[in-house]
């Protein structure tokens, strides 16, 4: 918080896009309320030439696009959707910083024409900045249908900015908008200045007085923006500005004015300026905006009567989630399999061409490490594409906010709110897209808390572990109960974890919950595609590289140093050379090969680390084989099974589950089996999850904290269960 504050007034935001300042490039900022259609306009203006990043230190997205209009190179910044510039949320801070510290040639204020009164509130604040501004009355068709008529010349005079009308969804009015932009950029900013919004006689007098004081103080930020703006901010008691030491004196004077004015108008001094602003807008609206028929957003309201109904709301939400789940994981399955198939084929193909004898290490690295790693990255891509298509649709239509509304009661009990529900549910499918889905949560603390606990939702890749271990140790009747209990333990731990985090690390009583439920709309296919594209690229670029790197490291751990067991190798080669092997020989070859793999793995770094780990893991009932397999499971939870098969010398051509299960039955008690599952459920998430957590939290510290926290938790839980079970003699023998 503090370093952020320090840079607030003095330094400028780090900007990765300013690098090519060669040649003239104009910068336009798109500002507007959430759900005003700002992003649609941004997409139309810039097409796919977008770059999505993050603002430093916060999880707010920073979207920048480029376009050329009338021969002018233009960079468009899509500011986060905000209701005001009051600094009361990270989005507002970011937007304000951008306007204050960056060179902005034009502000495009997008206004939902169907809801002018609320949208113009931000306009009053933008107008005070005295930057060149163009007002875009978007969704003008909707406004007309609702019988709202505007006196645009009057509004233009009032706010001192030109007005263009558009319909973002159909692209109507975009040419006029482009024309307006060109005209504004060409004319420069001079004709724009000097509009002063009046907040009533007594308030204006106070503002004037404070303006003079700010001017006299020589406050340097006031050179870029009008002193009057700072005077109003001080009168508003803006927390950041009032804390500025050089303005201390003026801020005291402002406090006196504020109290006096608030008392005079009979409102609280906290909300005094908001009250004045809305007062002014309703004045402007009365004169310039006429509503002939009061047809509200009827359709939308009617849908909501059902969708957020007290009784139907939850079932409908569940049905929608089922569809999203099916869409994300079932529809993507053929694609996922295709990706898998493709990389297998690729590895086989190269393997055929590349003789085993030449550069064997390098060959193995390319085939298993690199191709396997790339495959490991791309395997998630179909899920991510599908998921974000579904999420973009839910958000675009406005259902997402309803989902949060419906599920809030439940989530609130664990200290989160409704929006966290969807990512946590998706966690049952796969943690990677689930963590990416937390982007819909505005509150940073809630978002981080959700990310931290998502790995506890037992993902699909852990299912093979359960389906292998449960039948090995538990009788038919108890099997589903054990599986259920594992999932339940995950959910309970996630909820407890969220509660704990919200009351400790991410404690925050300061985040007020108020959420807009936008009217239902049909999103354009274009916006859905852009959104999907954006997420996929982001995943590939940021998380993908990390996953790839980690996969290669894990490959190295699993492979090197290479074991040379001459007698065994010789015998295998001998058997392979046989022209007409008998069944017995084939059997022998298979078991020899399996044995060699087990030996090799034991000899490898992973095996050695596993053996070392076994010392630590013995108290929770794990031997070196399980410990080594856990290292493999870091690359992907489902790999635990194949690693264990190798270590138990079970041929992996067609994983002989029954054989492995019998091996396991011989070696472990059901209690140990349960402990293995428990540990796999809770302990460190797979490498892809770690990478995506790093990407989404923007912090190695939190990533490592999560990794360590989960592992320690897993160890503790398993220790209690194992030792407790042994003490009470539960599950020590086969049931």
């Amino acid at each position: 918080m503090t370093p952020e504050k320090m840079q607030y007034w003095h330094a400028s935001v780090h900007d990765e896009s300013v690098e090519n300042t060669s040649g003239e490039c104009f910068r336009i900022a798109l500002a507007g309320n959430p759900n005003c259609g700002k992003t649609t306009i941004f997409n139309i203006l810039t097409g796919s030439r977008q770059h999505v990043g993050n603002y430093p230190g916060v999880t707010v997205e920073r979207k920048i696009g480029r376009c050329t209009i009338g021969g002018m190179r233009i960079e468009v910044i899509d500011l986060p959707g905000i209701y005001s510039l009051s600094n009361s949320s990270p989005e507002e801070k970011v937007a304000f910083n951008e306007l204050l510290h960056q060179k902005i040639d034009l502000v495009l204020n997008v206004i939902d024409a169907g809801n002018p009164q609320r949208n113009l509130y931000l306009t009053t604040q933008l107008a005070e900045l005295n930057l060149p501004m163009l007002m875009v009355f978007n969704m003008i068709d909707d406004a007309k249908n609702r019988g709202i008529e505007f006196d645009f010349p009057m509004l233009e005079r009032y706010f001192g900015a030109k007005i263009v009308t558009t319909v973002g969804s159909s692209g109507e009015g975009m040419d006029k908008l482009r024309g307006g932009i060109v005209e504004m950029l060409k004319s420069g900013s001079s004709d724009q200045r000097g509009v002063r919004l009046s907040y009533g006689e007594s308030t204006d007098a106070a503002v004037d007085e404070l303006t003079k004081m700010v001017e006299r103080s020589g406050f340097e930020a006031a050179k870029r923006l009008p002193a009057r703006y700072f005077a109003i901010k001080l009168l508003e008691n803006d927390p950041e500005l009032s804390a500025e030491p050089r303005l201390a004196e003026i801020s005291e004077a402002a406090a006196v004015f504020r109290n006096r004015l608030a008392a005079r108008h009979g409102v609280s001094h906290e909300t005094f300026m908001a009250d004045r602003r809305y007062g002014m807008i309703s004045g402007a609206c009365r004169e310039a905006i006429k509503i002939s028929n009061d047809k509200r957003r009827q359709v939308s309201d009617n849908i909501d009567k059902i969708a957020t109904n007290r009784f139907l709301g939850v079932p409908i939400f569940m049905a929608v989630m089922f569809l999203v789940f099916t869409f994300t994981f079932t529809c993507a399955e053929p694609l996922t399999m295709a990706v898998e198939w493709f990389f297998n084929q690729l590895a086989n193909g190269i393997g055929m061409v590349w003789p085993e004898q030449s550069l064997p290490f390098f060959r193995a690295l390319i085939l298993d490490g690199v191709i396997g790693g790339v495959g490991g990255v791309l395997i998630f891509l179909p899920n991510i594409i599908m998921l974000f298509l579904a999420i973009a649709f839910l958000e675009g239509t406005g259902y997402m906010a309803r989902a949060a509304f419906v599920m809030d009661g439940f989530m609130h009990k664990i200290g989160l709110h409704g929006k966290s529900f969807i990512p946590m549910l998706l966690g049952f499918g796969c943690s990677v897209p689930a963590i990416m889905a937390t982007r819909t949560i505005e509150s940073t603390r809630d978002r981080l808390t959700t990310i931290m606990v998502i790995p506890l939702m037992s993902c699909g890749a852990r299912l093979p572990i359960y389906t292998m271990l449960i039948p090995a140790f538990f009788p038919g009747k108890a099997q589903s109960l054990v599986l259920w209990s594992i999932y339940l333990i995950g959910v309970v731990l996630a909820m407890a974890g969220a509660r704990l985090l919200k009351s400790t690390l991410f404690k925050g009583g300061d985040e007020v919950f108020v959420m807009e439920l936008p009217p239902y709309r049909m999103p354009t296919l274009f916006s859905l595609m852009i959104h999907m594209w954006e997420r996929s690229v982001m995943y590939l670029r940021k998380a993908g590289t990390l996953i790839l790197g980690a996969s290669i490291i894990l490959f190295v751990l699993n492979t090197f140093p290479v074991l040379h067991n001459a007698p065994m190798d010789g015998r295998i080669a001998e058997l392979e050379q046989m022209v007409n092997p008998s069944d017995e020989d084939v059997e022998q070859l298979k078991s020899l090969e399996a044995g060699r793999r087990a030996e090799a793995l034991r000899y490898s770094l992973a095996g050695r680390i596993g053996s070392g780990l076994a010392v630590v893991l013995r108290p929770i009932g794990f031997d070196w084989k399980v410990s080594s397999a856990l290292i493999g499971a870091f690359a992907g939870k489902e790999l635990f099974v194949s690693q264990l098969s190798i270590l138990y010398s079970v041929a992996d051509d067609e994983p002989d589950v029954a054989k492995l299960q019998s091996h396991l039955r011989e070696s472990y008690s059901p209690l140990q089996g349960f402990c293995i599952m428990l540990f796999c459920l809770i302990s460190m998430p797979c490498v892809a999850t770690v990478a995506v957590v790093r990407r989404e939290t923007n912090s190695w510290l939190l990533t490592i904290l999560q990794l360590a926290g989960l592992t320690v938790l897993a160890y503790g839980m398993t220790l209690i269960v194992y030792q407790g079970g042994r003490l009470l003699n539960i599950g020590t023998a086969l049931l």
């Binding site: 609320r118 006096r260 909300t271 709301g313 009661g409 936008p518």
Partner: protein, 235 residues
């Protein structure tokens, strides 16, 4: 200076005349009668009584003119009215009509010293920063006291589904009061209760044409006055 002692009835006449002069530039007998809801002959006799005390000049068929003494007395009464009205509005949180009515009764009976000290008290409560706790208390507690009027103030979470109301007061102690203000939750805005979330404490309201959802315990800090059925509301 010294105010000339006259009956409270007479003071009302001076007050009304002064207001009319300020508003229209002149005061006719008919306007005075309308405003005070009395007959024209009683106005005439009152004006005669006041003119004998040199408080105004009155000739039949021409507008009434206040003398300097008359003007001073009238201004004094109006000042008292304003201060008392402010006290009723902002400290006792009465609605405008009631505040006006009560101020009219009281303005005639307090002496100058009491009045001056009373003004200081009101000013202090309303503006001093060390009184903010008190102001908070007043804004939450006052509307509830003897709120026998069924159409009076109630907190937003008590508003029934489908009903519309005007926001009367937002307690300063509401967490994030500014964010709510930015979203249009300020006194004077029309608000409509749209419903509650399936379980838990979220409710949704329509404010300035958009639906907002907020927690009931936050809504408890927002005081509203219910609109009658046929009341419109801005936008």
């Amino acid at each position: 200076m010294g105010r000339i002692e006259i009956s409270s009835n007479m003071e009302d006449y001076l007050e009304v005349i002064s207001e009319l002069v300020e508003l229209k530039g002149h005061a006719h007998v008919k306007d005075i009668a309308d405003k005070l809801k009395v007959t024209m002959p009683s106005v005439t006799s009152a004006l005669q009584a006041l003119s004998t005390r040199n408080l105004l000049i009155y000739q039949s068929h021409s507008p009434v003119v206040l003398t300097r003494d008359g003007e001073e007395t009238a201004q004094e009464i109006r000042r008292r009215h304003k201060e008392l009205r402010r006290f009723f509005r902002e400290i006792l949180k009465l609605d405008e009509d009631e505040a006006d009515k009560e101020a009219c009764k009281m303005e005639h009976v307090v002496n100058e010293r009491v009045m001056a000290r009373f003004v200081e008290l009101v000013e202090a409560i309303l503006t001093r920063s060390d009184c903010s706790g008190l102001r908070d208390h007043l804004s939450t507690a006052m509307p509830q006291i003897a709120a026998d009027d069924p159409e009076g103030l109630r907190s937003l979470d008590q508003l029934e589904e489908g009903r519309r109301a005007v926001i009367a007061q937002v307690a300063e102690s509401l967490r994030g009061v500014r964010r709510f203000a930015d979203l249009g939750i300020v006194p004077g805005t029309v608000i409509e209760m749209e419903g509650h979330a399936p379980f838990g404490d979220l409710l949704r309201v329509k404010v300035l044409g958009s639906s907002l959802s907020l927690r009931s315990n936050d809504a408890a800090y927002i005081w509203v006055k219910e609109c009658s059925e046929n009341d419109g509301g801005e936008l």
